[in-house]
């Protein structure tokens, strides 16, 4: 066991059960970056030390978040998440950051995933049992998130709130108890009224958008987001009934597009989605995957591309508005 609680930075979803069992406080570096008042300064700082202008802004934001929070240890999936994480980790190492690497097996093998997880158990000197116990604890919160997600589908909660709650469940604020209390409060004060009757039902897939007012613009255009794909995956709410290992095998995001698309199509049906927005990040390898999205989804798809943090640009607004007209 770790002797005293220590902050650990995460670059994407890393099994929080393990981190909490090991007495870490996980901090999602993406959230630190994007929730900052001046996220563009984060990008700028990374560019000054040499990150190329034509590289992904999230990676640059993560880099600067590590520095700004003075984080000493970062755990990062170097396989199955982002092709840039590898280089990011190498740079972070030269800045004296302790990097713990692990991998989601690309071939989607439960056996290999178990090995990876067990490697982490050993590394942190914890046992399976304590991890399973944490899963039980976190699943209580996840059940509430599931209710929240259902309420979004029913038009009682906005796509933006859905996004915020689900995306923040990647680290539960580093404080599950606080997260749980605030979630209770949020659900309690909800008026339970369907506010989106005359809205079109939209799904948003892809990495969370870098725009500060994306969901507001969608609402202005009468789009109700009933499915935030990656955020939904981060939240693990579809795996409350499954065991710990299978939860991270069910988690589609780090594995191939094939598997991910199957889940998306299933969710689109269940949520009765009329149009799908594929958000892509400028310079992200996942932009290539758009080909597969277009070839496999048979409802209207709008592919958007965000670059630097800030508000939605005029071109994107124009495209959203016209997309809403064709669906």
């Amino acid at each position: 066991m770790q002797s005293k609680t220590q902050i650990i930075g995460i670059t994407t979803t890393v099994p929080s059960e393990i981190l909490y069992a090991a007495n870490f406080i996980p901090v999602d570096l993406n959230n630190i970056f994007i929730a900052n008042e001046n996220p563009d300064k984060f990008v700028e700082k990374a560019e000054i030390i040499g990150f190329p202008g034509n590289s992904c802004a999230w990676i640059k934001g993560i880099f600067s978040a590590v520095k700004s929070e003075n984080i000493k240890t970062v755990i990062a999936p170097v396989w199955g998440d982002c092709s840039n994480t590898h280089a990011l980790c190498e740079v972070l190492k030269t800045y004296g950051i302790n990097i713990i690497e692990f991998a989601y097996p690309y071939d989607y093998s439960l056996q290999k995933l178990k090995l990876e997880m067990n490697f982490l158990f050993d590394k942190f000197n914890i046992n399976e049992k304590s991890v399973f116990e944490w899963k039980k604890k976190l699943d209580i919160i996840r059940k509430k998130l599931k209710t929240l997600d259902k309420m979004t589908v029913d038009g009682k909660i906005s796509g933006k709130d859905n996004h915020l709650w689900l995306v923040n469940s990647s680290d539960f604020y580093g404080n599950p108890e606080k997260f749980d209390n605030e979630l209770d409060e949020f659900l309690k004060t909800n008026d339970n009224i369907n506010k989106y009757d005359d809205f079109k039902r939209i799904g948003v897939m892809g990495v969370p958008s870098i725009w500060s007012n994306f969901y507001d613009i969608l609402e202005e255009n009468k789009a109700h987001v009933v499915y935030n794909e990656v955020q939904f995956e981060f939240s693990m709410i579809k795996s409350i009934e499954t065991d710990f290992y299978n939860q991270y095998i069910n988690y589609t995001y780090p594995y191939g597009m094939d598997f991910r698309l199957k889940e998306i199509i299933k969710q689109m049906k269940e949520r009765d989605i009329q149009g799908l927005i594929h958000y892509t990040q400028c310079f992200c390898f996942r932009q290539i995957e758009d080909i597969l999205v277009k070839n496999n989804i048979n409802i209207p798809v709008l592919t958007l591309e965000g670059d630097k943090p800030g508000e939605v640009d005029a071109r994107t607004k124009m495209r959203i508005e016209n997309f809403m007209d064709i669906i």
Binding site: C282, E305, A314, R315, D325, I326
Partner: protein, 294 residues
Amino acid sequence: MKNIVAFDIGSRLTKIVRITPGKFENHSLTHLHPCKSTVASDFPYLTSLLRGELSLSSNSPEENPLRLSVENNYFINFYLIETSYFYINKEKIIEDFPNTMIFITGYGKNNVDFLDNKNITYKKTPELVAHTRGCIYQTGLNDFILLDIGGQDTKVMLCKNGKMADFLTNDKCAASSGRFLENMSKILHIDNIGDYYKNPVTLNSTCAVFSESELIGKLSEGISREILAASVNFALFNRVKKLVIPFLKYNLPLVFVGGLSENKAIIHFIKEELKTNVIIPDFHIFNGSLGAIK
């Protein structure tokens, strides 16, 4: 109301169509001078549009606000101004249109709140929808592919059964827009760049700004300005075709509008390379403004 004015506020140019009943008179306004004028009766579809006979509006012809008196002839003026000029003088420009129904489309349509302060009512239409509709008005077609190359961007729309079914727009970069040609003509010191299409050579740069130095390099190698002008057109065509090709499978007529639809070279390349016929409506630059009228 007797008069109609439609604005297509583009990222570079604002295209205005003004429709007034009566005979010819000097239609220069305090801040605007027409670049083109016509009478509606010369174009049957314009008359139909103004009589509310085109069934695109959800209103029945009787309730159509546009249903103008059949006896009147209508005089139509077209104005083309810089969008920056429009914003600087917007208050005064609007004063030139009393007693007028106002229709607005284009990028700038979300920046016209000043009209609300003046208690002026107006109708907004999303840009691509306006383009599709303008094309239906002008060509009478219900199924077509519409290519619009403007000053800063390129859009391709698929229209089926009189409704936009899909669209693609260019990447963020201006290299597939009119601005690219404009910059290149300056470097080549050629005014009518669109006239050249013979023997193009390949320009490799993805970036429009880097293309400038590439072009200068080619000049230094002794390649003629005519060939380079053709090459610039070809480079633009090659960027634009990526947006058009996905829609060719529908086997529909291709309608070409926007500032560049006067460019002979682009039309030549579309016909030769894509083996498709090109229809250019009468008011191709004002297609969006006409389509905003509903």
